[in-house]
Structures are given as C-alpha cells and as structure tokens.
C-alpha cells in the first residue's frame, strides 16, 4: 500500500478504518506496520487509536453492534433492547461472543433520537427497535444476511416547513443552479453578500459567517482550507443527518462558495462515523460535481479557480466537533482541542488558514444566493434572519425535524410537537440550556421559566438544533446524571477540571440519586461546576455543567427533595457495605479448608 513514499498523515484515519473494517480490530502487527509507514513511534499511533472509541485493539466481532446510550434512548426503552441483544447473542455489552460473531458496545447518541431505540450494526442503522425486532435481526445475521441488506433507511421525519416562499432548506433544489452566482462575482463580493445576509454559525455560537470567511481570506498564506463540520455529536441533534439525507448537494455547493470566497484549494467534510451510511452518496455526488467541472481545476467563476473536496470519516469522539479538535483529528492526530492561541482562520489545518463551518450554515449559502439577500432578510428576525432546523425528540407525539422561522413562539412550537405534559425542555443538547415548562392556568399557554411569549431566536432562546422534551414523570436528577455520564466519557482528558472535575461531579450526582445527598453537597456541586466552567480548556468542559447549574435554579423542588440536612456523618458511608467483602472472603477461605 505504501511502498514508495511516506504516506500523507491526513490519510492515517482512513488507513486505520480500512484495517478496522477488514480485520475488525487493529492488532499489534498492524500497528507496527502502520507506524513504520507513517514514520511515527508505535506509542504515538496507539495514542491515536485509543482516542477514538470505534477503533479496537481486540476483535470487535464480525457484527459490531453499537447501541445508543442517550437519555432519549433510555426513555424510549433502551434497557429492554439491551437485554434482548444480550439474550439473542449470548454475550454481554462491552464484550464479544466466544466465536467472535457478535460484539456488543454502548455508544453516545447516534443521531437517530426521533426513532429510538436505535443502534448501528457494522455502521448500518437499525431504528425503532423492539425486542422482537432485535431477535429477528440477530437470527437473520446468523443465517448469513448482511447488515446492509436488512438495515433500515432512517426516516427523515420532516414534520414542518414554513410556507413555500419562506422555506430555506427543505424545498426542491436544482443541482448546480446557485453556483451560477459565482460567474459574475468576485470572491470579495461573495463575502459581502454573505455578510449582508447576516448568516451566522448554526452550530449555536452565531459567529458571523461572512466575517469568518473574510478573516480567512485576509490571512496571507500559500494554501487555505474549508471544512464542513458534520460531526454532529450533540445528543438529541440529527438535523445534519436529515440535511445530508435530503440535500447533500447544498452542502457541497456551500463548500464551493466558501472555497471561492476565501481562496481555498482544498476542502473536506468531516463526517462522524455514526453517519458512515451517508458517505456513499456523498462520494458519488463528489464524482458528479467533478465530472461537471464544479470541482477540480478551472471551476467556472468570475476568476476561475481550483478546488477539490473529500470526505474525512471520524471514529467516535464527541470532542472532535470542537473545531480545533476536528482539525487535529483530520491531521491524523489525537482529537484534542488546541491551545486557543490562534483561531483556525489564522492557523488551522496543517497550520494554514482554515474555515470550519457547520453543515447547516454551509447548506444555507446556496439558498442565500438563490433567494437574493433582500428576500432572504424578509424571513426570520432582525438579528437572525432565515430559518432554523430543530431536531425534536423525547416525550411528544411528533418527534422529528422542524424547519421553523427564527422568532417562532415557543408555545406554538411546543404545541406543534405534540409535547405530553412537558416539564423540562433541553435546548441545544446537554451542553446547552434547560428550561422549565409549565402551563399558565389562566391562559393555558406554556410558560418558559415562568414567562410567556418567549421565542426561538438569536435574540431570545437560541437553539443549536437539539430540542429534547421531558415530561412530568421523568427523573430530572437521572437526566442530569446521563448528561454527566456523557461528558465524563467524552472528555479528551487534556485538562484536569474537565477530566476529573466532571468525574467527581458525576459521583456526587450518583450520591444524590442514591439518597445520600446533604445540603452541603449542593453547595459543592455549585462551587465545583463554577471552577470547571471557568478553568476548562475548551467548550466541552466550559459548558458541561451549564444545565446542572440551571436545573438547580429552575427545579429547586426536585433537588431539595434529594437533600437531607447536614450532619457530622457522611450518609454515603455504610459500614455493612464496607465490610461485606471481608465477611465473604473470610467465610469462603475458612470454609474451604475446614
């Protein structure tokens, strides 16, 4: 494979994927070979492999099952499904059957929250699982069917789009049509238009896209890059999956616009491995765009340019959604966030100026040019024009995708989803914010944190995409614990506040759930969360306890119920539990020799 020259490090993950897929693990023999080929030490390579949870050192089974662990899956009946898999295959989660046929593993949200419980088998999706369905799947696989033959096509579940003239994303699009705009505009004019459209990062940070592009363009460099962040890992989010299922061409064209605007000659789509089943179509489209001359050399524009694009597959690491971590991952390194000395537009991929944009943001770009700035600004709110795709999941009748105009009233929206006795809504996923929902007895409208007339917009409730609904019966402490489990599992481990702070907070939450909480625990939770927030290295740590702090504030009854008055004795210490092991050993050993 790499006989003549040293291969490019940016292809490292691809090589690892080939080995993982074919051999179901990356064995030490392979590690030695790959390390040699890429001219790195063996331990460095092991460090990279062990960072991503879809790479395995030991055989992961001919059929590798990844079952979603998200709280939405949990509420959807995940435990039953877990049991069914264990019974049907005869092994337990975290291990592989003795004949190496089935490997069962847990994984965080796989972007199918509207059709949970769901799992991936050899990265093919299986949705709306029931125990019966699980037994069927296992039987068929045992009988020699391939996962690709029996998997589901995830439903797009597009529940709502605004009137046709106000819809942005989910309406017919004629491939290549918006690209005509390149013919009579200079790169600077493209950026001007994007700036005028007030397009801002749809990932939730709302950074002005035009500004980002201009920074990149203005940084002197030999080469520039544009990257689409399709590492949609925030639990409860699946909007990018649906965009890629329905309009992948918008993303590709968005990247072509970006490349022309900033002067990039190379680009990539960083696709999370959970969406591997979408890669085939993307690759096929790229061939088509190349054939039509919209990728490659001499792409038609006012100043013709060169640009090409490839799909980079992640390998299971939420933190890679953070742009500097994503760049490191693309460089074939551990997906650790950078030091923040530079923005990617200054020093990004391979040290060159790089634009990283969300899938939704890039997909909106061709629509801006299709509609024209004037029409574009008519939709949405003053600060956030346009529409927003919301992924709704949890306790409601119509989970799925909603394209709404920015500025939509929260009450109206919640009604639309068919929410059932909602108590809490989690906006933008675990790292976002939670809001308390209650019905106003006078008006019958839903109140958000006690207020009415709240809107989903950049000015008010800014939602990055995930919208999880929890009803009256849900245990909020357990929901918060599940968020914490997620951050503990996904912390990159680079800084201690996030790595250990969250681990310790997680234990504290378990203490509360176990009924051993005291008032002083609440004080400690607040204090520790603040420290994690202010000292963590990247957004993962900084936002990891947002919801926890908000929930303490917004659901005092729930938290207070879990707390006893302070005493001089730690209620979590139990002498019987602490001595049980000793009793068992003494009994066993002394009995053996009697």
């Amino acid at each position: 494979m790499f006989k003549t020259h040293k291969p490019d490090r940016k292809h490292l993950m691809e090589v690892l994927w080939d080995i993982q897929k074919n051999k179901r693990c990356i064995e030490s023999e392979e590690i030695v070979k790959v390390a040699q080929a890429f001219d790195m030490s063996r331990i460095e390579l092991e460090g990279i492999i062990s960072f991503y949870h879809f790479y395995h050192f030991d055989d992961a089974g001919k059929y590798t099952v990844y079952l979603d662990t998200s709280i939405i899956a949990e509420h959807g009946g995940r435990q039953e499904i877990r049991q069914a898999f264990e019974e049907a295959t005869g092994t337990t989660f975290g291990s592989v059957t003795p004949d190496l046929t089935f490997g069962l593993f847990d994984t965080p949200c796989i972007g199918l929250s509207d059709q949970e419980p769901a799992c991936l088998i050899n990265f093919r999706p299986f949705t709306s699982l029931t125990p019966q369905k699980v037994f069927n799947i296992v039987t068929q696989l045992k009988a020699g069917k391939r996962p690709s033959e029996i998997c589901d096509v995830p439903k797009t579940n597009i529940r709502y789009t605004p009137p046709a003239d106000r819809t942005v994303f989910f309406k017919p699009y004629e491939k290549f049509s918006a690209l005509a705009a390149l013919r009579d505009r200079t790169p600077d004019e493209i950026i001007d238009t994007v700036e005028q459209s007030k397009l801002a990062g749809y990932g939730g940070a709302f950074f002005p896209t035009g500004k980002k592009w201009r920074f990149c363009r203005q940084t002197p460099a030999e080469k520039r890059y544009v990257i689409a962040n399709a590492d949609e890992g925030e639990p409860g989010t699946f909007k990018d999956r649906v965009l890629l299922q329905t309009h992948p061409e918008l993303l590709i064209e968005g990247l072509i616009f970006a490349a022309y605007a900033v002067g990039a000659s190379e680009g990539a789509i960083y696709l999370r491995a959970e969406y591997m089943y979408l890669k085939e179509e993307l690759d096929r489209l790229l061939v088509e765009y190349r054939r039509k001359g919209f990728l490659g050399k001499n792409i038609p524009a006012k100043t013709p340019f060169e640009f090409d694009l490839y799909v980079h597959l992640g390998a299971g690491a939420y933190v890679c959604g953070e742009e500097t971590a994503l760049i490191h991952s693309m460089e074939g390194r551990r997906g650790e966030p950078g030091t923040k000395e530079y923005f990617p537009v200054q020093k990004g991929f391979l040290g060159q100026p790089t634009v990283v944009n969300n899938v939704e943001t890039l997909s909106a770009v061709p629509r801006v040019f299709e509609a024209g700035v004037e029409n574009w600004l008519k939709v949405g709110t003053a600060k956030t024009p346009g529409t927003k795709i919301i992924s709704v999941s949890g306790d409601c009748t119509n989970p799925g995708i909603y394209e709404i105009e920015w500025g939509t009233d929260f009450n109206d929206f919640l009604r639309m989803t068919g929410a059932r006795d909602p108590k809490m809504v989690q906006l933008s996923g675990p790292s976002g914010v939670c809001v308390a929902v209650a019905v106003d007895p006078k008006t019958g409208l839903y109140l958000v944190d006690g207020q009415d007339r709240r809107a989903l917009s950049g000015e008010d409730l800014a939602c990055g995409g995930s919208f999880m609904i929890f009803d009256e019966t849900r245990n909020i402490l357990k929901v918060l614990k599940s968020y914490s489990d997620f951050f503990v599992a996904e912390s990159c481990g680079l800084c201690v506040p996030c790595r250990t702070g969250n681990f310790l907070l997680n234990k504290k939450l378990q203490k509360l759930i176990n009924g051993h909480g005291e008032k002083k625990d609440l004080h400690e939770i607040t204090e520790w969360s603040e420290i994690i927030k202010t000292t963590s290295r990247c957004g993962l740590g900084q936002f990891s306890n947002n919801s926890l702090l908000l929930a303490i504030d917004k659901f005092p009854d729930v938290i207070d119920r879990a707390l006893a008055d302070n005493t001089d004795f730690n209620p979590a210490f139990n002498i019987e539990t602490a001595t049980a092991e000793y009793d068992r050993i003494v009994e066993e050993i002394n009995a053996n020799y009697d």
């Binding site: 331990i43 481990g493 002394n590």
Partner: protein
C-alpha cells in the same frame, strides 16, 4: 522593531513589548503566576490551567496570552486564587500522591505549589483510581499514579529521528502517558535525565538516578513562602474560666508517628499542660471518654470497623475534630492497599507471605476482632473534619501552633520548613 505597550496587572501599570508571554512579563514585574505545564523555552501547552487569569473580564490562560496594548489583566483576585488552589487539589485527588513515599518529594513542583498555597487537604474526595507503574523501559520508570498529564514529555522528548518517546493513550479520566520501549532505548543518559527534569512531579524517574539530594537539601526544602492559614473563630469558649481545655487523641490506621511528633514539642509540653487536660488518649492511657472534649485529634485513616467506631465516637464527643497527618487526611501509606484487592492483601498477609507458617490456611475472622474494610478511608469520608494538619509526621511546631491557635484564637504563621507533606 517590537512595539512598546502598556498593560495593567491587578491594577498595576506595566510597560512591556507587544506579543510577549504574560507569565514572563508578570514574573519580571514581581507578580508570580504559578504554572505546572508552562516551561519558558517550549511552546505553551495550556493543559494544567493553573495560570488561569482574567483578561478584560474573561477567563483565559496566562501561558497562552500574548500581551497587547491596553489589556487589563487580573491575576490574584480571591476567585482566581481559589480556582488555582482548587485545580491543585483536584490533581491531588485524581492521582495517587503519597508524598511520604515519593522519590521526587522535596523536588516536586506541584508539592511546592501546594505548600505555597497552604493546601492542607483537598476539598475533593480522593479518587484512588488504579494506575500502573511501568518498569519495562530501559532507563526509566513511568509512575502513572503521580502523572498530572501536563504533556511536557509528550511534546518535548523526541528521539534524534524525531519520533515521540511518550504519548497520551486513551482519553478522559482514563488518559495516561505511556512510554515507547523501542524509542526510549535510543535515548542517551542525559536525554533521559532531561525527561525526568522536565516532569514537574515524580512520574518520570530514571533508574538509579533518583535519590540524589539528602532530605533537607532538596530543591524546595529551603526556599518557599510562609503559610498563613486562617482558622475560623476567636478561640474556644470554656464554661468555667478556671477549667482547662479538654483534648482527646487517638491513632487509627496510623503508625503513632504523629503522636511521637506531638511529644516533640518538648518544653512547650509544659505550657500546654497548664491550659490543657488530656482525656481519652494513648498519652494518658485513658481508654474511654469520661467527659465532653473541646478538641479531638485523630491520627490515621480508617482501615477496619473499629477505626470507624472510634472515629464516630470522637465526632460525637468532641466539638472540633482535627485530622493529624497524611493518613488521617487522605489515607496515607495504608491507603496504598486500595489498589490491591482485599483478597490479595489478606492472602499475602496470612497465607502466602514469607513469614506465614507452612500450610497456613486461616484468615482471622471472629466476632471479637475488627473487620477489615474494603478500602482504607480518609477520616473526612466518614465524619466531618474541621481542621487538617498535613505532614508525615507533621512537625511539632506546626501541631503546636494549630492547637494553640484553636484554643486561644491567636493568629499564627507556619514557616515553609514546618509545612510539609512528607
């Protein structure tokens, strides 16, 4: 030419050159920003987070901050000082830092910061997570129990052909630094020594090159700040002014070394006895509490059911409870068994040890003898502890100052050489 700029640090105006590193600029102006990962000649790593400061009201790390004109920087606000302390405490809790048994003790950057900040005990519970010690490399030992993942070695130690010798492996709480045996063998003696010296703690050790300086002459034995602990309250109140203060002491899973140290206060013992009466204590051989005590001093953690009972009794009978020494504070040397299964411990002690009788087959177990706990617990995980006196053992002066201050409410300070974890 580099531009001259003006910034302020904690309100103090400073003139410097644009683009310089904040930690360096602050240091030259007499403001110390502590760091564990930043090393002057290598690019900043921003992993340890201890140098977190506020720039124009926002948190950021000092080591990655290049100064620019008009920056207003806060370094030593109460919040930032406490954050810094919290991070060090978190590092102590996540690793297994048994200073008394560490080769790097006295030369450890983290330990020294702990002294400077007057950290007597971590506010976080000790994780006691099982970590490996790797003796396999040719020249080095990798002691992951002590590693704080600062990443200095990963970034800086390379072979001559540019390959990494150290690497982070796994992620999250499971992250650890591992050594590549093949590449490590290529390092020269001096390159290996450089790796050990880069390590701010005692994680990287070069075999045979560890105990160089004798106790007392080590890097941080002589230089350092005085610690000014704050004890709340203005002394204890007695019902009858003529009555003496009543003190109880005990040694749980400890070695009695702290009690020995207590006796080392020498002639001051006579002063002490003028104001203090000992109740239950091995010093008086009073076995049972006969009255309520003002202060209970506890040496050692809890390794068995009797320790737990005694500790709880102390909590009930004493107004103030003090953890004396490393074992009481964090489990200490006995807690090193927390990484070995209880079964293995008992079998080693009673069945397979060199001194056990041939054919030994009984592990003691009887209702009259205490039961061994699954782990050794720091006192604070069982009862509320009011004050901590660190050390192995704490110096006599340190104990005396704390006790006197608790009794009389006098302000006091502890000299650098009296404040030790080892």
């Amino acid at each position: 030419m580099t531009k001259i700029i003006n910034i302020t640090i904690d309100g103090k105006p400073i003139e410097t050159f644009e683009g310089r590193n904040l930690v360096d600029v602050a240091k030259e102006n007499g403001i110390f920003i502590p760091t564990l990962c930043y090393f002057r000649d290598i690019p900043p790593l921003a992993t340890c987070r201890i140098c977190t400061v506020k720039l124009n009201g926002r948190h950021t790390t000092g080591c990655t901050l290049r100064v620019a004109d008009g920056m207003q920087i806060e370094v030593n606000t109460p919040e930032l000082l406490d954050n810094r302390k919290a991070i060090i405490e978190m590092l102590y809790s996540e690793g297994n830092h048994f200073c008394p048994s560490c080769e790097k003790s006295g030369k450890c950057d983290m330990q020294n910061l702990g002294y400077d900040m007057g950290i007597t005990a971590s506010r976080y519970p000790h994780a006691f997570s099982h970590k490996t010690i790797d003796f396999n490399p040719k020249r080095m030992i990798m002691e992951s129990n002590r590693c704080i993942l600062c990443k200095r070695c990963v970034e800086e130690v390379k072979t001559r052909d540019g390959k990494d010798v150290f690497s982070f492996v796994k992620r999250g709480v499971k992250t650890l630094v591992k050594i590549d045996y093949e590449e490590e063998a290529k390092l020269s003696e001096s390159e290996a020594m450089r790796a050990m010296n880069l390590c701010p703690v005692g994680a990287i050790l070069v075999k045979g090159m560890i105990h160089e300086e004798p106790f007392g002459d080590r890097k941080y034995d002589l230089v350092g700040k005085e610690v000014k602990p704050k004890l709340s309250g203005g002394g204890l109140v007695k019902k009858d002014p003529n009555e003496k203060f009543i003190v109880a002491t005990t040694s749980l899973a400890g070695c009695f070394g702290c009690h020995m140290s207590m006796l080392d206060i020498d002639t001051e013992l006579i002063d002490l006895l003028e104001i203090v009466e000992f109740n239950k204590s091995p010093l008086t051989d009073i076995k049972k509490f006969s009255k309520r005590c003002h202060i209970g001093i506890v040496e050692g953690g809890c390794a068995n059911s009797e320790n737990v009972e005694v500790l709880k009794e102390f909590r009930k009978r004493c107004d103030i409870l003090v953890s004396l020494g490393e074992c009481a504070i964090m489990g200490g040397i006995p807690a090193m068994r927390n990484f070995v299964s209880l079964r293995e411990c008992l079998e080693e002690a009673y069945l397979h040890s060199r001194t056990s009788e041939l054919g030994a087959h009984v592990i003691p177990g009887h209702e009259d003898i205490p039961k061994i706990l699954n782990n050794v617990y720091p006192c604070t995980e069982i009862v509320k502890i009011d004050y901590y006196i660190p050390g192995c053992p704490p110096s006599a002066q340190h104990i005396w100052k704390v006790v006197r201050s608790l009794l009389l409410g006098e302000e006091f300070s502890i000299a650098h050489d009296e404040f030790k974890y080892d």
